[in-house]
């Protein structure tokens, strides 16, 4: 152990705060200069924490989802009857769906329809709600990729019902999904049966708002909102939500995805996806270009 004189030690202890302050300001500057540095550090930290979060989030979910084994036993027979009835109904719908699919295939064949590229997808468990004070995102555990984890960047995240967000950071074990409610989220959407274009803008609240719709055709209450291929960031036709007019009479989107309690997300990587979410090269980059990437 090095013995230092008392005045020197005092001077040293007085100096540490300004020195660390300068160091931190340097970090801010470095973060501004190299925007990928913080993304890299963040995905490294996420990768480190993801297994630990998975260990603790399992029991939490078990507690949330079950009211105890005994409580379930009483409801079992009732639930069984309900499920049987539901099953019968669903089988009827399955027949309808198969008939419609056959019809659809026949119509597509006669139209020379070009099918959209099939995305690769991986399913991951949401292990942590790592959103910040001004950001809405979740951490998803992904199976260890055999290739470059960066291929997952920009992948579209859906839960069972609809669009949840897209991947902004990807590590070898975890991916961070920026939700559609985040204040930096901008998603081109198509509204209703005619596919009226609009922009869905997150506001950190539960329901993202709709902007830039055509004034002559305002979005109708209850109209379906789907993603649009404009800007090339999303595949067209993914279900997003339903139009609703809020108390201020502004159109907002009620998301189909259960964003407040996400458990499992599927991450679809479309072959066309570009890692930096830039406009597709064969299209002219637009000034009002669509960005869904976290703005730095």
């Amino acid at each position: 152990m090095i013995r230092l004189s008392i005045p020197f030690r005092q001077a040293l202890s007085r100096l540490t705060l300004p020195v660390m302050l300068v160091f931190s300001l340097g970090c801010v500057l470095i973060g501004r200069a190299d925007q990928h540095l913080s993304d890299r550090l963040r995905s490294a930290l996420d990768d480190l924490l993801a297994p630990a979060y998975m260990l603790v989030s399992g029991p939490i979910q078990a507690v949330e989802h079950s009211t105890g084994a005994i409580g379930h036993l009483f409801e079992l027979s009732q639930e069984n009857a309900q499920l049987r009835a539901q099953n019968k109904e669903l089988l009827q719908w399955q027949e309808v769906a198969m008939a419609l699919q056959a019809q659809n295939d026949a119509l597509k064949a006669s139209l020379h329809f070009v099918p959209p590229p099939t995305p690769h997808f991986s399913t991951g468990e949401v292990v942590a709600d790592l959103g910040g004070v001004y950001a809405r995102s979740v951490l998803v555990l992904v199976p260890p990729s055999n290739g470059d984890p960066q291929t997952l960047l920009g992948a579209v995240a859906m839960d069972g019902r609809g669009l949840a967000g897209r991947v902004v950071d990807a590590g070898s074990r975890s991916a961070r999904v920026l939700l559609i409610t985040d204040i930096n989220s901008r998603i081109p959407v198509a509204i209703g049966a005619n596919g009226e274009p609009a922009l869905m803008v997150g506001n950190n609240g539960p329901d993202p708002s709709l902007l830039y719709w055509s004034p002559s055709q305002p979005p109708a209450e209850g109209a379906m909102v789907l993603t649009s291929a404009e800007g090339g960031a999303f595949a067209p036709g993914l279900p997003v939500g339903v139009v609703h007019y809020n108390a201020q009479n502004q159109p907002v989107v009620l998301p189909l995805a259960h964003l407040s309690a996400l458990r499992i997300l599927r991450l679809f990587s479309y072959p066309d996806n570009l890692p930096d979410l830039t406009p597709i090269p064969h299209k002219k980059p637009d000034a009002s270009s669509i960005r869904h990437h976290r703005k730095h």
Binding site: T16, L17, F23, S24, R32, L45, G132, V133, I183, N184
Partner: protein
């Protein structure tokens, strides 16, 4: 170590280990708390809890045991907070260090003061610091951010500081007391 107290008992290996663990306790508790707040409990306003918790820890330890949370450790915690909180890198490191500096300046007045005054001072500091964080983040991301989070953070600070202080005072007298090693 720069601050080796004059010990009456000989410094055996176990006692050194004990002292080191006591010295590390505030840091470990701070990082563990940040980790726990990241779990998906689904509490509304859970993200706003993270900076309030970090500020509470920095404030308390800088007030009552400044040696246990030196500036480099505070800077490290600030960087961790930035990475977990999705804020631009370094903002919280700067803010937490400034908070530590402000607390050091207020130490002489606050340490002998009544708890109510210490509490009120913390709430005031959180109000100012959350506004600073809001301004810094809005400037660095060049977007107008909603003003509700600073308000929520201040309310959380007002409501949670007594509970946090009760826990930290217990730690201050027990597992973080280096002189008891």
């Amino acid at each position: 170590m720069a601050r080796a107290p004059v010990l009456r008992r000989p410094a055996t290996g176990w006692r050194r280990l004990d002292a080191a663990s006591r010295r590390l306790f505030p840091l470990a508790a701070l990082i563990f708390g940040l980790f726990v707040i990241g779990m998906p409990f689904g509490i509304p306003g859970q993200a706003a809890l993270r900076p309030v918790y970090a500020m509470g820890c920095v404030y308390f330890w800088s007030l009552y045991r400044p040696a246990s949370l030196p500036a480099p450790i505070v800077a490290l915690c600030g960087l961790l907070l930035d990475l977990a909180d999705l804020s631009p890198l370094g903002i919280w490191a700067v803010l937490l260090l400034l908070l530590q500096g402000a607390t050091w300046l207020l130490r002489r007045k606050l340490v002998p003061a009544r708890f109510l005054l210490v509490w009120a001072c913390f709430v005031l500091l959180v109000a100012v610091w959350s506004i600073l964080a809001w301004a810094a983040e809005a400037a660095l991301t060049e977007t107008w951010l909603p003003l509700t989070p600073p308000l929520l953070e201040t309310l959380l600070a007002a409501g949670l500081y007594p509970a946090l202080a009760a826990l930290l005072i217990r730690a201050h007298r027990g597992p973080a007391a280096v002189e008891m090693a």
